[in-house]
């Protein structure tokens, strides 16, 4: 195994399906390119120092390249410097690092994708009315960007739409479902809800079903429960990123970098809107996971 290139990936999370999809993409690339990968991430929200311990251990293993989805864009910089000193190429994924050390960043534009979700939701509710956000957390970069991207777009482009509540369910299906049911109770005129990641979106869908409400739900990410909900109309549509693609690109970029190849500064892995009408399109199917 000594001769095989080894790519160590340290992500922001580990348990949630999005990260598992990134892992799958990484493993696919590893298989194709004859590399080895490991994939790790802290399991609590925002555990910056835990992630730093993981990066340290990854560097100690002297990998061919290292891929990092930093929880905090600043805190990891000193560690990245160590990697740079040891000659280990660093690839960022999911969100950027406040440093020029990463040779490239493979990520989704969270602000833009959430803005698209805002446009779609506004359109679906007819351009006016109350909406709410059920997000996964209020402190992570991704959580903040998806929330703010949505909020900013509503404020900028949809003056008749009012955001009445922003709640956080930790990405836990059950908690998000309880939150949704309460929102529907508190705001009987609520027209739309944006669930900002997979767990949140599914939770919102469960809450909607249990309340027998016809509120319009817009989700984010995929996963079987969410695609099913899109098919049966519980969720009107969702943004999907390309997590498998992200994982794939990171490994590919890592190996390329180790060979001294030049990399583009940003790999946009893209995002898509999918709903009942296009869910079976090959382009969409390629980026959905379950």
């Amino acid at each position: 195994a000594e001769d095989k290139p080894y790519i160590a990936l340290v992500s922001k999370g580990f348990q949630h399906q999005f990260w598992q999809a990134v892992k799958i993409g990484a493993e696919q690339a590893a298989e194709e390119l004859g590399a080895e990968v490991t994939f790790e991430g802290p399991d609590g929200e925002g555990a910056v120092d835990r992630q730093m311990d993981m990066i340290s251990a990854a560097i100690a293993k002297k990998p061919t390249a290292i891929g990092i989805a930093a929880i905090d864009s600043q805190a990891t910089v000193p560690l990245l410097k160590t990697a740079q000193k040891d000659g280990i190429p660093v690839i960022a994924f999911d969100s950027g690092v406040a440093s020029d050390i990463p040779l490239t960043t493979a990520s989704t534009d969270n602000l833009a994708s959430a803005a698209l979700a805002a446009d779609k939701l506004a359109e679906l509710i007819g351009g006016s009315g109350q909406v709410a956000i059920v997000s996964f957390d209020q402190t992570s970069q991704t959580g903040i960007e998806r929330r703010d991207g949505f909020v900013n777009q509503i404020e900028a482009a949809h003056g008749d739409v009012e955001i009445v509540a922003i709640e956080y369910g930790g990405g836990d299906h059950l908690k998000s479902a309880e939150i949704t049911k309460t929102l529907l109770q508190a705001y009987p005129d609520l027209k739309g809800i944006f669930g900002t990641n997979e767990g949140s979106a599914i939770g919102v869908a469960i809450g909607k079903k249990e309340s027998s409400s016809d509120v319009v739900v817009v989700g984010y990410d995929s996963g079987k429960a969410q695609t099913d909900a899109v098919r049966d109309g519980t969720i009107a549509g969702a943004i999907t990123q390309n997590p498998v693609g992200i994982g794939y690109e990171v490994v590919k970029a890592g190996i390329a970098a180790s060979k001294g190849e030049k990399l583009e500064p940003h790999i946009d892995t893209g995002f898509y809107w999918y709903d009942k009408s296009n869910i079976d399109d090959p382009t969409i199917q390629a980026v959905l996971y379950d």
Partner: protein
């Protein structure tokens, strides 16, 4: 025998006072609940509505069942930190049996329950036979179940789409069939059935008697010729089985076994138990109290959301209520 008579009448009074106090306790916890409900109803017209009450009940179902399991263990002066991840583990087992192996429900569900029992028995074995303090044994097992759930699932949820009727276990409504105005979900019904069952065990059976005795004075029970080790294992097994019920309720409600959920649920469950007046030092406790405690937690969470209190303040209020509830309890018992 003048003195004896006086003494015994004093003691009689004493025990009446004691009994009144005990009932008073439940009365107080119950009044606390009523007070909260009235307060929230006045504060928002959206609170006291059938649909919202049903939501609150449904939100209580999983935590309530976990709290019942925790109550059994806590009365023995133990603690079970593994209830949350064990619940998840049992849901995953159900997923493997029903979805991955395609077995029918009448095998899959008992299978999941059995896995809960066995897992509980293992914790019980650690506590009883290896003398590991319950806090540690169940802290360790909490991590073990979490890791195992993730490993078994390979990181992805297992869906129950192929198992017809699975979602109805929790979300269907038998009561709604009979009384359409009150479509109380089966999950809530199951919570109450489990509570009645556990309450029956506690108050009417040998096991219940021993649960209280274990929490009051384990050594005295052992020296009475009771095989305390075996009964402890029975208690933890029973608690494990009840966690499995919670796992099935959860899985049915979200139509999937989500390996990442579970940790953290134990704190909510323990909070419900202590708000309900069960003492962490063992020997005392009621299921009714625990159910009231679980309802208080759900009502607070729901009410604060309905009032649009920002989430960070919701957390602060919940923490304060836990302390307040126990303080009120101490005041009543005259311990302060």
């Amino acid at each position: 025998m003048n003195d004896t008579t006086i003494n015994s009448s004093q003691l009689g009074a004493n025990s009446l006072v004691e009994r009144a106090k005990r009932n008073q306790h439940r009365f107080w916890a119950f009044s606390g609940l009523i007070f909260l409900v009235i307060g929230f109803s006045l504060a928002s017209p959206n609170f006291f509505q059938t649909s919202n009450i049903i939501s609150i009940l449904q939100a209580t179902s999983v935590n309530g069942v976990l709290a019942i399991a925790a109550t059994l263990v806590i009365i023995t002066a133990g603690i079970d930190l593994s209830v949350g991840t064990l619940m998840t583990f049992c849901a995953v087992v159900a997923g493997v049996l029903l979805t991955n192996l395609g077995l029918p429900m009448y095998i899959g569900i008992p299978g999941a329950l059995l896995s809960g029992f066995l897992a509980g028995a293992l914790s019980g074995f650690f506590v009883a036979k290896l003398n590991i303090p319950p806090f540690i044994a169940t802290l360790g097992m909490m991590l073990v179940y979490k890791g195992l759930s993730l490993a078994i699932c390979g990181g992805r949820p297992i869906y129950f789409n192929d198992t017809e009727g699975f979602v109805d276990i929790s979300t269907g409504s038998i009561i709604g069939h009979i009384i359409p105005a009150f479509p109380i979900p089966n999950g809530v019904l199951i919570l109450f059935l489990v509570a009645i069952f556990a309450s029956f065990i506690l108050t009417r059976t040998i096991l219940g008697r021993f649960i209280f005795a274990l929490g009051s004075n384990e050594e005295a029970l052992r020296l009475s010729g009771v095989n305390t080790d075996r009964w402890k294992i029975v208690v933890y097994s029973l608690a494990g089985g009840i966690c499995a019920i919670a796992g099935i309720l959860l899985a049915s409600r979200i139509n999937s076994a989500q390996p990442a959920i579970g940790q953290g649920y134990e704190l909510d469950a323990i909070a419900a138990v202590v708000i309900g007046g069960t003492s962490l030092s063992g020997g005392k406790g009621t299921m009714l109290g625990t159910i009231i405690g679980a309802l208080i937690i759900s009502v607070v969470a729901n009410g604060l959301r309905i009032l649009s209190v920002p989430q960070e303040w919701q957390i602060v209020v919940t923490g304060s209520i836990i302390i307040l509830a126990v303080y009120a309890d101490q005041l009543r018992r005259g311990k302060t």
